[in-house]
């Protein structure tokens, strides 16, 4: 879980760096092509990851041995 988020944050930083580098006219054209491809691939992955997040709300409950277990949480809807 933790890893996933760090990856996203790092991926966003990387994507921003790729765009900045591609915008630099000093960067050779050959490298520019590679940057473009890498950036498009990375951003597509990031979008997919964001769109794939589909988690439920959980609440912790003690099981028979007193261990905390996650169960689905349904907020009572009285509001």
């Amino acid at each position: 879980m933790k890893k996933e988020t760090l990856d996203f944050e790092a991926a966003l930083k990387k994507l921003e760096a790729i765009v900045a580098r591609l915008e630099n006219p000093e960067v050779p054209l050959q490298e520019g092509f590679a940057l473009y491809e890498e950036g498009m691939k990375l951003s597509a992955q990031m979008k997919k990851e964001l769109n794939d997040i589909e988690k439920k709300v959980k609440i912790l409950q003690r099981d028979g041995r007193g261990e905390m277990q996650e169960a689905d949480f349904e907020p009572e809807d009285n509001g």
Binding site: M1, L12, P25, N51, K55, K58, M68, D77
Partner: protein, 464 residues
């Protein structure tokens, strides 16, 4: 416990009403009886209400009425108790807790509380206690800004320590699901007020702080909805403060309303004004994340397009360069033609001039005999005019040619091979000093010369 009414056992009231056993009291006697009974039964009560009709009598005693929505009670605080009390001032409308003894003022038969202590609610006593706590933790460095950790940009899982039934949990879940549908939320249910609440909240924070992989969260919201100062007090207690302080997971405090401050707020990595605000702070909107990525993708495409465009222009320039390579030669030709033109013109002029001169000489000779005056002079003038006109023509032609030459020179300088070389290109010549345009023209091991913006280098071709 006085049981003055006759008859043993329970149910004195019933016994009093028994006509046979009936005892008739004097008013003062009954009032006194009531007073003693109440004072014994309610020797130490604490009662919360709003002060009204506050009077500080000249005797030094304090009188007021304690009210709430459903009742009223007279309160008297005598001079001695007042002097010992921490109460400095009491104003109508203030919420107070009165501690003392319930009694009856026999002269009027009025119920009243003889106060031994009066404490202000909300601000006042609790406020002072809060300030003391705050100072103590501040001195221990618990609020050090350097301790505050940044929150993750996109938490994989969000832990929430709060009551599972309050409005707070409902608000947090609703807002998070609206902002970021599908985000993972794990709730640790804890009582948030009353005896033992602080320990439960602390246990929840510790649970997430120590959770192994699979149960871990990336950020923690700890809080509850609004309430009185006492309701929120658990968030000022040491177990909660210490648990937040030692938490390995960044903590957002979300206690009560915007105006409420607790020690938890100061020690947390981030204070949210309300539970709803915490839900807004803990993660950005999903569509904002997607928007940011789309923005960057757009930037990529734009930059790539621009680079391609630039490359196309550079290519065009390279093509033009081959035309420029023989530009100096063409320029020379042009200059030569101009020179030739000049010569031709001069020659023509000369020829004409010569012809004129001859004609003039001839005429001069011819006319000398017949017309020594006017006609000859007229001819000379005509010839001089012609001379001048021809000279102007030549000068003009030369001037125009020079102007064009200058323009051509300027154009050449702008696109000179030097300028192109300065941009990082180089010119390669083969062993016969010809410019290489096709690698296929080169033989294996052939010596080539490369000219750069600065300097030259010799190289050999490696054919693989």
């Amino acid at each position: 416990m006085p049981r003055r009414a006759p008859g043993a056992g329970r149910g004195n009231a019933a016994a009093d009403m028994d006509p046979v056993m009936e005892k008739i009291f004097r008013v003062s006697e009954l009032a006194q009886l009531l007073k003693l009974s109440l004072e014994a039964q309610f020797a130490a009560v604490a009662v919360l209400g709003e002060a009204s009709g506050v009077v500080l009598a000249s005797s030094g005693h304090l009188y007021f009425t304690l009210k709430d929505g459903g009742g009223a009670l007279k309160v008297a605080m005598f001079r001695g108790a007042l002097a010992r009390s921490t109460l400095k001032r009491l104003e109508n409308g203030q919420q107070v807790v009165v501690r003392g003894m319930l009694s009856v003022y026999p002269l009027r038969g009025e119920l009243q509380v003889i106060a031994s202590d009066i404490r202000l609610q909300g601000i006042g006593d609790i406020y002072a206690a809060l300030e003391r706590l705050k100072k103590a933790y501040q001195e221990k460095g618990y609020f050090d800004p350097a301790r505050k950790r940044p929150l993750p940009l996109l938490p994989g899982r969000i832990g929430v320590v709060t009551s599972p039934t309050g409005a707070a949990v409902r608000d947090i879940v609703r807002i998070l699901q609206r902002r970021f549908p599908g985000i993972a939320i794990v709730i640790y249910p804890a009582r948030v007020q009353g005896e033992g609440a602080a320990a439960e909240i602390a246990a929840g924070i510790d649970y997430f702080s120590q959770a192994g992989p699979g149960a871990a969260v990336d950020v923690l919201i700890v809080g509850r909805g609004g309430g009185s100062y006492e309701d929120l007090w658990a968030f000022n207690e040491a177990p909660v403060v210490e648990a937040i302080h030692r938490s390995r997971v960044p903590v957002i405090s979300a206690v009560g309303h915007e105006t409420d401050f607790t020690i938890a707020d100061f020690v947390a990595d981030l204070r949210a004004a309300t539970p709803s605000a915490a839900a807004e702070l803990v993660v950005g909107r999903k569509d904002e994340f997607l928007g940011r990525i789309d923005f960057l993708r757009h930037g990529l495409m734009r930059a790539a397009e621009r680079r391609l465009h630039e490359a196309a222009s550079a290519l065009q320039e390279l093509r033009n360069e081959s035309a420029l390579a023989d530009f100096p030669r063409r320029l020379q030709e042009l200059a030569q033609r101009l020179d030739n033109g000049e010569f031709a013109l001069a020659r023509l002029f000369q020829q004409r001039l010569n012809a004129r001169s001859q004609a003039w000489n001839l005429a001069a000779r011819r006319f000398a005999a017949f017309d020594p005056g006017g006609r000859l002079r007229q001819r000379v003038l005509q010839l001089r005019q012609l001379d001048t006109q021809a000279g102007a023509l030549v000068r003009e032609a030369l001037q125009r040619g020079g102007e064009r030459l200058r323009l051509l020179e300027a154009a050449l300088a702008g696109a000179s091979p030097e300028r192109i070389l300065a941009r990082g290109y180089s010119i390669t010549t083969d062993s016969r000093q010809r410019v290489v345009r096709d690698a296929a023209d080169l033989g294996a091991d052939e010596r080539i010369d490369i000219r750069f913006a600065r300097g030259r280098a010799a190289a050999r071709v490696i054919k693989e």
